[in-house]
């Protein structure tokens, strides 16, 4: 990153949808992509007299996430209503958590070029999602359309400390968070489907004669990809610098309040939204339709037991246990828990972690990417690929042939041994047979033999090439070399 005349300060507010079957307060399905308004009931439609009842699994998932983020779990938490009018919010209040969130004070470690950096988590709380508004295109253009399928889907809001100091760090934070939440099956974190959403609070600190000036904080919204988060922050920081140069306005100045900006991905700019003529007044108060939740240490222990090994710990272990580089470890862990499990099985099965890593990060990852599939759907179990690695080594099957066998195993099935046989990749190991082939090759390359005799050692390569062609590469190179040398000396 080029040296900037300012320091960027970023805090992220991330919303993730929890992987429950049903909504936070009713039994409607949370499945993505159902026909409009087909997954609603009196509760999520906000019909008069309907009442919310809390989904236990949503709360457990939220606690799991909070524990993974090293948060403190409150022993007492409650539900509050956030009151505001919007057509995608049928009750005109959102059930959320205000002054007593179920968790707070956590952290997430991210990898930066300068090493590991710890980012504080202010709080994580649960709330219900709103519905979707569609802005009618064409036609009269006068109406907006409301789909309430998403209304009431459980959302976990995770608020970081403003401790991210570069767009790249924001991206790293999001990637680490996604890895964690996916690994724990808390959320599928699909930004495209809206199951992970992110707003960035950005301002800059500009050094000047009297110290450091902080610009007013802008909340950047409409960030639809990690790339967008990075780009938007970069743009916004620069925009604030320009603004500061021209108006000198600082955070905390009279009349300066937090502004909101939308990211325009096509134009690559943030657009500061015209300040609403009113400050919002959400009139939070405890939701009288819901009762508080008391969490005891037994409950926390129960959830903690389900956590398993978290990505950060996993990285350290893989690096030392399998002597992997930091880079390779990152590539493997980033793919998620099933991929790591596959790697460990493969390494065990073939007895060579380096080879296992090579196969996994080259061939297998390529196959998965081509197929847009997950390791759980990979057609060959780890021990089958381990067998291939062992066979290749034992028989001297070269890399290209081994790849051919792999490709066949993946597309057509079969064990390594079966496929090797089927493709005629059985190695020529009989010395007499190989000596015959060498002699024929020498006969056919008389000039090369002469050249060799005259001291041109390189000339032997042509004969070796002919032998390899003849054996379809199935002879072990060292053996060919040995026999060829003997025959040339004898000639």
């Amino acid at each position: 990153m080029a040296d900037l005349p300012y320091r960027i300060v970023i805090g992220l507010e991330v919303h993730v949808q929890l992987l429950t079957q049903t909504k936070l307060f009713c039994g409607c399905s949370t499945r993505f992509g159902q026909p409009p308004n087909s997954a609603t009931c009196p509760v999520c439609l906000g019909l008069p007299g309907a009442l919310p009842v809390m989904n236990r699994r949503a709360f457990d998932l939220a606690v799991k996430a909070a524990l993974a983020l090293n948060c403190r779990i409150a022993s007492f938490t409650k539900w509050d209503r956030k009151n505001y009018y919007y057509p995608d919010l049928p009750k005109n209040y959102q059930i959320s958590q205000y002054d007593l969130p179920f968790s707070s004070d956590g952290h997430l470690d991210i990898q930066t070029p300068e090493g590991t950096k710890r980012i504080g988590i202010i709080r994580a709380h649960l709330e219900e999602d709103a519905g979707k508004l569609l802005h009618e295109e064409g036609g009269s253009g006068k109406d907006s359309l409301v789909d309430l399928n998403r209304t009431g889907t459980p959302l976990l809001e995770i608020v970081s400390q403003p401790e991210l100091s570069a767009p790249e760090e924001a991206k790293a934070y999001l990637e680490e968070l996604r890895l964690l939440l996916k690994a724990l099956e808390i959320s599928d974190c699909e930004m495209q489907e809206g199951s992970l959403r992110c707003d960035a609070n950005v301002n800059i600190h500009v050094p000047h004669a009297d110290g450091v000036a902080a610009t007013p904080i802008v909340e950047v919204k409409n960030l639809n990809s990690f790339r967008a988060v990075e780009r938007a922050i970069k743009f916004e920081a620069n925009r604030q610098y320009g603004q500061f140069q021209s108006d000198g306005k600082k955070l905390g100045d009279r009349g300066v309040s937090k502004a909101t900006a939308g990211w325009d991905d096509v134009r690559g700019v943030t657009v500061v939204q015209r300040r609403k003529e009113e400050a919002s007044d959400y009139r939070y108060f405890p939701d009288p339709d819901l009762v508080p939740i008391e969490v005891d240490s037994a409950w926390i222990a129960e959830v903690r037991a389900l956590l398993g090994e978290l990505p950060a710990a996993q990285r350290t272990r893989l690096q030392s246990q399998y002597a992997l580089s930091a880079y390779d470890t990152e590539v493997i862990t980033r793919q998620g828990r099933p991929f790591v499990a596959y790697f460990e099985e493969l390494a065990r099965g073939c007895g060579d972690a380096a080879e296992a890593k090579n196969w996994l990060t080259n061939e297998i990852l390529q196959t998965l990417n081509d197929r847009k599939s997950d390791v759980r759907a990979f057609p060959q179990p780890a021990d089958a690929i381990a067998e291939l690695i062992r066979e290749a080594k034992a028989t001297g099957l070269n890399k290209q042939r081994a790849r051919d066998v792999y490709a066949h195993m993946v597309s057509e099935g079969g064990t390594a041994k079966e496929v090797i046989k089927k493709l005629g990749f059985t190695p020529v190991t009989d010395e007499g047979q190989l000596r015959d082939i060498v002699r024929r090759a020498m006969a056919a390359n008389a000039k090369a033999v002469t050249d060799f005799k005259n001291g041109k050692v390189k000339a032997a390569d042509a004969i070796k090439g002919a032998v390899m062609r003849e054996t379809k590469g199935m002879a072990r190179t060292e053996m060919v070399q040995q026999i060829l040398l003997e025959e040339l000396q004898r000639a």
Binding site: P42, L47, G49, A50, L51, Y85, K91, R283, F285
Partner: protein
């Protein structure tokens, strides 16, 4: 026949005298003859009621098992959702609203084979003490048509008093069952918060609302409570505790019995005739060997103020959903979305509802929330603590229901605060979640009914009903019926 209690009518039907259909017919006749004057009902579905009654008769003939209220008409306050049938809450906002589901208590009534005879009038969204805040009609007190039946369950109270139905359901947020019961000379019971599911009860103030029976006597109240009480998984605030067989123990007097008499309930503002009748009722208990104990509820002086902060704060949020977007009234003319909200709500709500939404919005708004809302919740705890202390010394607490008997229609409609102050004896029960009942205990010289209020600790309905029944068995106020 229409003057009989539900318990008597059930006994008659069980004996095979008469039919549910003829009984329902008799009540429908009564509604036709009397309700043009009383105006208790908003909707009466004659065909459906008769069909249900006919079906019950057929099942009885076939010897099939029947529910606890088989063939008995029940009127329901229009605050309770009825599937496929309009539920207006006395508001223009919900003029054409048809819920796709039944309230929990409605399901219970159907399962008990009750005949749902109609929906009764109420103050809009249960906000009021006279039923004058209905967007549709003014209900009159069957004892004196120029007077209010009380509110907000005025329709249900008047319907029972006028013998247009033997049983009715109301809802009580600050006295809305007990006060109209008192003013109409019937029995009205507000159960403990959490005793009856609120699912399908259109919310006014969620931490205070409770559904309860309005009946001719305590026995019928026990009968109806037995049907509607109990746990419902769809209401998080519904409590999972067994429901005693109230009707079985009803006639067992509570002995020994100590009744607490709060001195704060007999201070300034209490009408002389009401005080006299209430004191006479206490004498009845004393004669039966009951100990009367002077108790104090010092924080009750703040009850009205506390209530009007807590209730309106919750209401301002509960009623935010009536915005003309997903259901309910939408203004015909509007410039944009915000204008649509403001006009739909401005047109749809009546003056009292607007006033309370405004008050509730104000007390929650930034800068005022601590001084009003949070403060009121603190005082609410002190009010509850008062009751806990008092109940440590006595079984039930007795006093008046309302400072006066029924007042004349229109008398208080210009002074909201005066109207609020008439809830002074009833709202503490809602704030502290305890049970309360109003039973007839006399009449004014002018012939207007007076009620006695008894209050019991949470989930002590069984004891409360037995204590109320002791008075009923010693008096005959509950047998009086207005001439109509």
């Amino acid at each position: 026949m229409i003057e009989h209690t539900a318990a008597d009518l059930l006994a008659t039907l069980r004996k095979g005298d008469g039919s549910a259909e003829s009984l329902t017919g008799a009540f429908l006749d009564a509604i036709r003859q009397r309700d043009t004057r009383v105006r208790a009902f908003l909707h009466v579905d004659e065909a459906a009621a008769l069909e249900k009654a006919h079906d019950i008769d057929a099942r009885r003939k076939r010897g099939e098992p029947l529910g606890a209220l088989a063939g008995i008409p029940v009127a329901v306050k229009d605050v309770l959702c009825t599937a496929g049938q309009r539920t207006t809450c006395g508001s223009k906002v919900l003029q054409s609203f048809v819920p796709p589901y039944d309230a929990h208590v409605i399901s219970r009534l159907r399962r008990a084979d009750a005949v749902l005879i109609g929906k009764t009038n109420m103050d809009e969204f249960a906000m009021g003490s006279s039923t004058e805040n209905s967007a549709y009609q003014i209900t009159r007190n069957p004892w004196e048509l120029a007077c209010t039946p009380g509110g907000s369950s005025g329709g249900s109270a008047a319907a029972v008093a006028a013998c247009e139905t033997p049983l009715a359901l109301g809802s009580d947020t600050g006295g809305s069952i007990r006060q109209p019961a008192s003013l109409c000379g019937v029995v009205g019971l507000k159960p403990t918060y959490g005793r009856v599911s609120r699912f399908g009860l259109v919310a006014f103030a969620s931490s205070l609302d409770q559904v309860g029976p309005l009946t001719h006597d305590v026995r019928d109240a026990a009968l109806l409570l037995e049907v509607i009480a109990g746990h419902d998984a769809r209401d998080s605030t519904s409590v999972d505790r067994p429901v005693p067989k109230y009707t079985r123990t009803l006639d067992d007097p509570v002995q020994p019995l100590t009744i607490g008499v709060p001195r704060e309930y007999f201070g300034a503002g209490l009408d002389g005739e009401v005080e006299q009748a209430v004191r006479a009722a206490l004498k009845v208990y004393e004669k039966a060997g009951t100990k009367l104990l002077d108790v104090s509820l010092p924080y009750s002086q703040y009850a009205v103020a506390t209530y009007y902060v807590v209730a309106t704060a919750e209401a301002s949020s509960n009623l935010a959903r009536y915005d003309g977007v997903h259901y309910g009234h939408r203004a015909a003319k509007h410039d944009d979305l915000i204008d649509l909200y403001c006009r739909s709500r401005g047109e749809g709500f009546g003056a009292e509802v607007k006033r309370r939404i405004m008050l509730g919005t104000y007390v929650l708004s930034s800068g005022y929330k601590d001084a009003y809302y949070v403060k009121s919740l603190q005082v609410r705890r002190l009010i509850k603590d008062d009751f806990d202390r008092a109940f440590a010394q006595c079984d039930v607490i007795a006093g008046p229901v309302s400072p006066t008997a029924a007042f004349r229609l229109g008398d208080r409609s210009d002074d909201p605060l005066a109207m609020y102050l008439s809830d002074i004896y009833t709202i503490s029960a809602n704030l502290s979640g305890i049970a309360g009942i109003s039973i007839p205990c006399g009449f004014t010289k002018g012939g207007l009914p007076i009620g006695l209020q008894l209050q019991a600790p949470p989930f002590e309905e069984e004891k409360l009903l037995r204590v109320a029944r002791m008075h009923e068995r010693a008096t005959d106020w509950h047998t009086r019926r207005p001439k109509l």
